[in-house]
Amino acid sequence: MVDNIKRSVLVSLWFVFLTFPLMVVKVNTLKSIVEWRWLNMLWVAIGAFVLSVLWRWAMARRQLKNKEAEQGEDDSDKTGLATRLMEDPKLYKPALIVIALATIVFPLVVDIYQANIMVLALIFVVLGLGLNVTVGLAGLLDLGYVAFFAVGAYTYGVLNSFYDLGFWTCLPIGGLMGALFGIALGFPILRLRGDYLAIVTLGFGSIAKIVIENWEEVFNGAKGIAGIPRPGFFGADMNITTATIYTYYLMILMVIFAIFITNRLKDSRIGRAWMALREDEIACVAMGVDMARTKLGAYAFGAFWAGLVGVIFAARNTYINPNSFTFMESALVLSIVVMGGMGSILGVIIAALVLVLMPEYLRAFSEYRMLMFGAVMVLMMIFRPEGLIANVRRKYTGRKVTTEGANV
């Protein structure tokens, strides 16, 4: 105990040293004043001490868990609360009904601002589900995912401003364009291992933004494209309120569609191939899986969803510019997938709602949002790599077929 405290004090001192120049000193070179913020030092010391105690406790627990797993204690029966909830029809059916009712009633009882934020959150749910296929199922780390989102949004923006095409025509085109770009990007990097892939996709994301910013004639550069029409409904005339509510329901349908498709796909032939590829590429190819087609499929499929909701995003905002498509958005979607649990659909939905809605409602928090995302990514990887809600694979037992986790 004393030893523990002594170590924590040392850690705390180390962090005081580490953060000293950045947290305490602030130089105003114009006025030649040095600002000493000694109070920050105190916060760092206390924070580091508490975190260090917590860290050591969590590490001890983690080691214990690993040891148990090594000793062959089968923890497959000890499924989490969420999984148990999903398995029992008595529990999940009423829950599902409540959630369904809540989603239907939601835009009618809250004001348009809330509904609009919810639409954004739902857009990120679909983005999360899409990236979940590429990263979670196929294990291909994509850091430029937002580029496909931009492709969708600009498909609608450009086609609308040049050829006057409507939302419903552009929606499938946006999705297909996304998929097309996914394949185009996928081809050259098929042979690359995971870590190279990350950097190339990161590069692609930056390139997409730079091209949009500089190609004035088509994309209108940094000024962006304004006056994009909201989604239409058989030519009905809608004011902003009804249009927002309509967009909300549209997004709900889109989410359900995405859940349905990704869920079915997960258990399909190609879904299994993706997971096999993620686990062991060489073994998977040796078993006769066509690597090129499977990888491209994962890319195209992930990108398809991004393109699709990109169109909706453009229609929701009625204005797009390159600043909506930075690396921060890619990082946000990635942290959604990581936090939700790679491959887990329910986890991704919850994580998307939490990560998008929390900064909107807790304004004080929004400043620290990216800091938190970073910390969450590190901590999740160390302490809970399976995510909030672990993806449970369908298991085939001798007697019957169980469908755990498939009933999302």
Binding site: V27, P188, V200
Partner: protein
Amino acid sequence: MEYFLELACSGLVRGSIYALIALGYTMVYGIIQLINFAHGEIYMIGAFVALIVSGVLTIYGFSGVSILILAALIAAIYAAAYGYTLEKIAYRPLRNAPRLSPLISAIGMSLFLQNYVLLAQTPDFLRFPSLIPDFAFMEPIAHVMGSAELVILVTSAVSMVGLTVLIKYTRIGKAMRATQQDMTMARLVGVNVDNVISMTFVIGSVLAAIGGVLVGSYIGQINFYIGFMAGVKAFTAAVLGGIGNIPGAVLGALVLGLAESFAAGYVSSAYEDVFAFGVLVLILILRPAGLLGKAVKQKV
């Protein structure tokens, strides 16, 4: 011709800065096969610490060269401390995890450090004092190559020679090479692998901090975001030269720097970054092992 020389010179300067950062990437990758995404952030922190130290020293009335030396020294110490802590927190617990885990952890760390500096200091660009004095003997060729550029080239060259000596002739260098070849075997013959990995991060961070100080006083302004682009470019350079290969990283960085400089000068500066990534993609398609790297057969 003069324009060409000017571009070549600025390309070399760029390249040597990339090289200083790329060395950290390539060393870490060589030993634990991890892309240390947060390495660019270490470079940024080095630049920030140097800025703060030089600001404080200027206000307290220190003069020219002593500021430069003290700022660089303290920046290097802090970068080393950050690199060491980074490895301990974010990578060591994940050493036996699947490959994707440390990578995501690295991205998280990079985001964290960026926003830490943003919140602790400022989101705006800060003016970096030009610490490097103007030499009189550089006067005749100042329009092609200034004093700052000369200092950058010389400093990077010295650092790289120092690194080579360190790796080739010292005990820790030998241990690093052993760990790179076979971590288990190195452990068996008594190398403290954990220490070697920590040292690798420390050395890489010091080089990055030197790069940060040089860039800061060369370009004249920094903000919390400079590490991201520089990191990606330096990684490109490391891949270009063959990742894990130290001379390769330097060669790749110089090639990339020159290519970028000429592309910016003769084509368009707006598409400079596009060009860098284009080079990366081309290299990965045509020669994934890089210019100097050896293709490794994957064993099952």
